[in-house]
């Protein structure tokens, strides 16, 4: 429409072209997503493909965007509007409103609603003393045993990330001789004798199997499990076992999105993003949990350390900074958590 007569609607050619282009891009993305979903249902593994969009994401001020999102979602709604907004959110992201602990009118903002608690009995905790339970509601992305030297977890087919980088390198004692069992036993023995030093939880990732010095004790392996939380999921983190939390590490990092597409296109997503790592000991040995933030859910609140603040404005180059640590174990016991206890929550922004 390059001309108009009377009341006819006028759109410049460039605007039409832009709308058509955006529509085509969106249609292409929907087509790709459908194709990926179909392939996943057939059991075909997705491969890593870095793209222009991923490079562009690296240039965006995602932490500032995240904090602005947090500010927006923290705006208080009038009481009459609250049920409409939260029902719309629940419809869009498949949340179950029946489980919310409070009436919808009592959540003052979307941020408040997002981190809601659940009604008593909504999440029964498996009482088998030999089981390890899920700390969150979510989707299982990966799980298995860390067998390879260096302790790598596959982000997606063709690309892996390092567990020492994810949790903090000081947790692990790298060993060069994979079959040096005696050395491992000595290390374990000496560390058991000196529980007040951090060394007891050091685990070899060069060969992540540790035999307890006592002959009756079984060989131990290192296992991992990666769980992704969608926006509509319950966003509180609970204790997976009875354990003693001995240390907290806060990595101030980027805030890339963590959705399925991002895992296929952004390298080192999990080791570059802002995260809080808790380390400790359970009945079988070492236990660590990393809560990783994303653009929309950028901050992590720890109930065992309410003063911790994450996703703060910072001027330095974030990913080069060492993590900030706090040891909870001055007397060698740390903070005792029971299976199912609330540990932390992901907050918007």
């Amino acid at each position: 429409g390059s001309s108009s007569h009377g009341k006819s609607f006028f759109l410049p050619g460039a605007t039409v072209a832009t709308i058509v282009m955006l529509g085509a891009l969106h249609a292409r993305r929907l087509y790709d997503d459908n194709k990926i979903e179909g392939a996943r249902e057939k059991g075909i593994e997705m491969e890593f493909h870095s793209d222009v969009k991923a490079s562009f994401m690296g240039m965006l001020p995602l932490r500032s965007i995240s904090r602005f999102w947090g500010f927006l979602t923290g705006v208080e709604f009038p009481i009459w509007l609250r049920p409409y907004v939260y029902r719309a959110w629940a419809r869009a992201f498949h949340s179950n409103l029946e489980e919310a602990a409070l009436p919808l009118e009592e959540y003052v903002s979307l941020r408040d609603f997002f981190v809601r608690t659940l009604k008593e009995g909504s999440r029964p905790v498996d009482s088998d003393p030999c089981c390890l339970v899920s700390p969150v509601d979510g989707t299982i992305l990966r799980f298995g045993e860390l067998k390879e030297a260096g302790g790598m977890i596959e982000q997606v087919k063709g690309f892996s990330y390092s567990v020492p980088k994810l949790l903090g390198a000081t947790s692990f004692l790298s060993m060069t001789a994979e079959d040096d069992t005696e050395q491992k036993n000595n290390e374990k023995e000496s560390s058991d004798m000196d529980a007040n030093k951090k060394s007891w939880w050091r685990v070899s990732l060069a060969s992540p199997k540790v035999r307890d010095p006592a002959p009756a004790c079984p060989m131990k392996g290192l296992f991992y499990c990666v769980i992704y939380l969608k926006p509509g999921d319950y966003h509180r983190i609970h204790s997976p076992v009875d354990w003693n939390v001995l240390l907290r590490r806060h990595f101030s990092g980027r805030l890339f999105p963590l959705n399925e597409r991002a895992t296929r296109t952004i390298r080192n997503l999990y080791v570059e993003n802002e995260r809080v790592v808790l380390e400790g000991r359970w009945q079988e040995g070492f236990m660590a949990m990393a809560a990783i933030g994303a653009t929309n859910i950028g901050s992590i609140e720890l109930f065992i350390e309410p003063t911790l603040r994450t996703n703060k404005p910072q001027k330095n180059i974030l990913h080069l900074e060492p993590p900030e640590e706090r040891v909870y174990e001055p007397d060698g016991t740390g903070i005792r958590m029971k299976k199912g206890d609330e540990l932390a929550a992901f907050n918007m922004g």
Binding site: S134, L141, F223, Y224, M287
Partner: protein, 35 residues
């Protein structure tokens, strides 16, 4: 957001650790990941 668990567990029978989950499966807080 994502949570990653890393833990030690027995790998020799009879007390070896086994996951009881599947990749892509939905899980809720409190349900068993492994025994």
């Amino acid at each position: 957001s994502t949570v990653v668990l890393v833990f030690q567990a027995p790998i020799s029978s009879p007390s070896d650790f086994r996951f009881c989950i599947k990749k892509g499966e939905r899980i809720r807080m409190g349900e068993a990941l492994g025994r």
